[in-house]
Symmetry: C2
Subunit: 568 residues, 2 copies
Amino acid sequence: PASFDQISPSEFFYRNRDLAGFSNPTRSLYTAVREFVENALDACDRNGILPSVHMSIKAVDPEKQDPKHYVLTVSDNGPGIPSNHVPLAFGTVLYGSKFVLQQTRGMFGLGATMAILYGQITTNKPVHIRSSTDGKVRDEFEMLLDIQKNKPVIQKHTTSPARSTGLRVSINLEGDYNKAGAKIRDYVYKTALITPYASISFEDPKGKKFSYTRIMKSMPAPPTTVMPHPYGVDVETIRRMTVESMADIPKMDQKMLARLKSELRIKEKSVTRKSILKAAPRRWKDLTRNVRIIVALVHFLEVEPDRLERLRIDEINIARNELTYTDRVSSKSTVVPLDPESTYHKQLARIVQGETLATLLTKRFQRIGAKTAEKFSLYAGFKPETRLGSMSNADLVKLSDMLQKFTDFRPPDPTCLAPLGTKPFENGIRRSLNPDFCVTVQRPASAYSGFPFVIELGLAYGGDVPSEGLKVYRFANRIPLLYDEGSDVVLKVIGDIDWPRYKIKGDPPLVIVSHICSTRIPYKTVGKENVADRVEIEREIRLALQYLLRKIAVYMSKKGKAESARKR
Amino acid sequence: PASFDQISPSEFFYRNRDLAGFSNPTRSLYTAVREFVENALDACDRNGILPSVHMSIKAVDPEKQDPKHYVLTVSDNGPGIPSNHVPLAFGTVLYGSKFVLQQTRGMFGLGATMAILYGQITTNKPVHIRSSTDGKVRDEFEMLLDIQKNKPVIQKHTTSPARSTGLRVSINLEGDYNKAGAKIRDYVYKTALITPYASISFEDPKGKKFSYTRIMKSMPAPPTTVMPHPYGVDVETIRRMTVESMADIPKMDQKMLARLKSELRIKEKSVTRKSILKAAPRRWKDLTRNVRIIVALVHFLEVEPDRLERLRIDEINIARNELTYTDRVSSKSTVVPLDPESTYHKQLARIVQGETLATLLTKRFQRIGAKTAEKFSLYAGFKPETRLGSMSNADLVKLSDMLQKFTDFRPPDPTCLAPLGTKPFENGIRRSLNPDFCVTVQRPASAYSGFPFVIELGLAYGGDVPSEGLKVYRFANRIPLLYDEGSDVVLKVIGDIDWPRYKIKGDPPLVIVSHICSTRIPYKTVGKENVADRVEIEREIRLALQYLLRKIAVYMSKKGKAESARKR
Ligand SMILES: Nc1ncnc2c1ncn2[C@@H]1O[C@H](COP(=O)(O)OP(=O)(O)OP(=O)(O)O)[C@@H](O)[C@H]1O
Ligand SMILES: Nc1ncnc2c1ncn2[C@@H]1O[C@H](COP(=O)(O)OP(=O)(O)OP(=O)(O)O)[C@@H](O)[C@H]1O
Ligand SMILES: [Mg+2]
Ligand SMILES: [Mg+2]
């Protein structure tokens, strides 16, 4: 009979590390570089710090042939990581701070840990991490990974004085700089292009330094975190929102008693059931939600408020009008009837049945106002005041479907996106390529499946651009994508171009630079190398490209006229 | 400051379900079909059962427009799943029986769970599973997934009589049969082509039946599980083998006492320290390893064997020649010296220091005999009798590197592979395509990174093959690959062909069928749609293709001569 096993996510990605970009020493060295550099830039971006990132690759034994062991070190001037989070951030797969709806480079919670994992399985050496969050004290960790258990194994943890905030991570890994070098230098060069406000330097195994100083002294506005958009929703999301919207039974502790006293204006020293139920009706309008719930519980359970502390409410069944509670001290369970006519019945209903549909729409989604919430409820066939907790499964599914179909929702909020902006984008391209002709465009924001995105596209021609035919520089959320262009949406769109129509033939000195920004890039692989051809994204890239090509057609025809004039 | 989170693997694949092939209702319906069908075929293959797989897709409300809710049901005559494993097999991601080194369709432990997850988040309905492992009793489960916790939530579990073994799984999911139908029918057709010993039937939403009866009445030999090959090894693997090779302290229980008595030929009723140490020397050669360890412990600890039952050995420190043990009853810890001159010292050394390098090589790897083990040890600079537990970190890394570099290991054992075989492969192609000309080839087995693989390639021309130009049917481990052919290794090789050289021009009625079999297919994505261009795999496909093309060149030139003869 078959023998079953469960493996941890780190074990899964250890066995299938090709999926994450760690297929061989050449590719792995590249992927490790990018994972650490992208983390550094994300951290600086998030905290509005102009990034200074330094990266070095040194051979452990320069005499040997590739592939061989290298030490890869990346350090930044970012906010660092608090010492209690360092081991998990780097020692656990699927642990991170980027699981929120925001435009960031990272999104999976595994990049750095995978690089460390690869280093460990090829060299058996621990990772060295230095982190300072206050610029005064620096924590230094030496750790290994327990790959089977997905947790860090701290070998050393010391502290020492620091002079600035930031993080420095250093791993030993088997790499092939001979083969990966060109791609790594290209990655650094392109990162500088798309991040003109960052200073990046790289020291290669021979000690040669490549340095890109920032050409922008101000940070672009950092991306914001957004609420989900209705078009991105499924039944699981609705179900979770419903669960979250149900109030917990308030904890009946000293703090709560004090609040009862003050809100109900109870003068007596001790708070009794009698005094609560006497004061509640006239103070009702000003009571907070939790106090109202306590009043209702005291009323129905017929207990003194201090006894509530030892009770645990097990179930409030609105359908059967029953409440079940257990005395933690005596372990005895009691069922009390709930009179649906009682003034306090509504409080308990609120606990179980969660917020109304109208509240859900306006509070848990982006850009839905009260009017739209009402209009949608009508369209979907629900009353706006329907309690989520009282909706059946079929209702939740219908709600989820209707959210996708209703066409009057405002489009996703694009202010959460952080494109470079046409001027910085153009400056970055000009610095890197020094072309004769350069034009950039930023499309209006759009959305796919409820995720906002914006396309920036640039075109560079002539000047120092080599005449080797069209090259495509792809970027997503300020990350250069250097592999697998064959299955990327940008190449798909470019493949459809009719070049002669734009007066471009032969092997022109031409570079197209694409930058997709989104709260969620639809990567095809965990290794983040190519972007899926979502219909909306394809369309926006096409429109941007057509605009740029019309611009270069004008330039080429003027250029052509000027040349024929010169010849005459 | 950043707010950190850990997510479960099911949460990860819920958020990133595009990676697993669940990007939209069209693709998801297709992926759900294939995940269940591939599971059914794997289960039958493994148990030598001629597979009969039935699949149906029914619209919940046929009047509605696509995309809409469907019920997908797949049932098989396989071995079923034991009822204690059903909830985890289908309700937990990264849980399965295919984490071993064997040629199977499945490999990730998540396919079925992802299909169920997708069904749940689009319809909120539980999955229905029926399983019988004995053909007499059938377990029926209704379950939902707790996606955040990665565990099943059983809503119902009943048993009823069964008439045969097998599994039946049924989910509700949002799909688009209008768009996915052609791909799904193609998938079934191609599965029949590559699995000629399986009977497969499919009933579509309109009630139309597609049925493929097996054309082979005998099973191909089932694939075997193999030990790893040295070329596939890294330091983590070596480290784990080292840990496994260290003996546990044998459990000192009644069973052990009985074994002591019988192996040491102790005649007395009770087994005493005195009688053990008296009998041990003359029976030494025939004692099993665990008995020898007990003898050594009894000697050093100077305790009666029945007292060993209450002792817990905490540490055996060979370097300091000390053993620490705790009496579980009195909780008292004692340190005893270990005389390194003692005859029994070696037994305790074996516990801590693991097996020898020679034993590791011959016992834990495939195809390494004693001679090769010795030759390798010499090459690597280790004594064959070196204890693994005594090797330093640097030694383990060196061992791992040397295992990759040593060229005298026998190539990976290909008997663990289960290609179709040229005759069944050709019959499958002929039945499906009915060509005028058909030729197949099976390359000798090869290996990449220590994983054995074998290429089967076939070519079909003319007859009922449509004249629409070259089509490529890709298969891996008997799975049809229908998406993303642009980044697949097979298309890369085909892209290099110089067609006129083989007398083929225009849009020929030509199909190339490729089948890669391996203990580990290097898929580029979790959705198993394309295969990475590993150098060794690319080479074997190229050689196979060149062989077939030479064959068709001969056919085309004969055909050309016959046609010119007819014209004259
Ligand atoms: N240089 C850094 N400075 C500050 N925080 C960092 C740095 N590097 C990593 N982190 C923190 O460690 C977490 C884990 O990093 P990791 O690269 O493994 O995952 P991620 O960046 O969240 O996602 P991805 O797998 O897509 O890269 C990050 O979410 C971030 O909070
Ligand atoms: N029809 C079936 N008959 C018998 N066992 C099955 C069947 N379907 C699934 N299983 C068992 O359930 C396990 C989990 O299946 P699942 O598809 O999630 O993962 P997998 O097949 O191991 O890997 P993959 O994700 O690559 O498909 C399998 O490993 C297998 O043991
Ligand atoms: Mg990261
Ligand atoms: Mg499977």
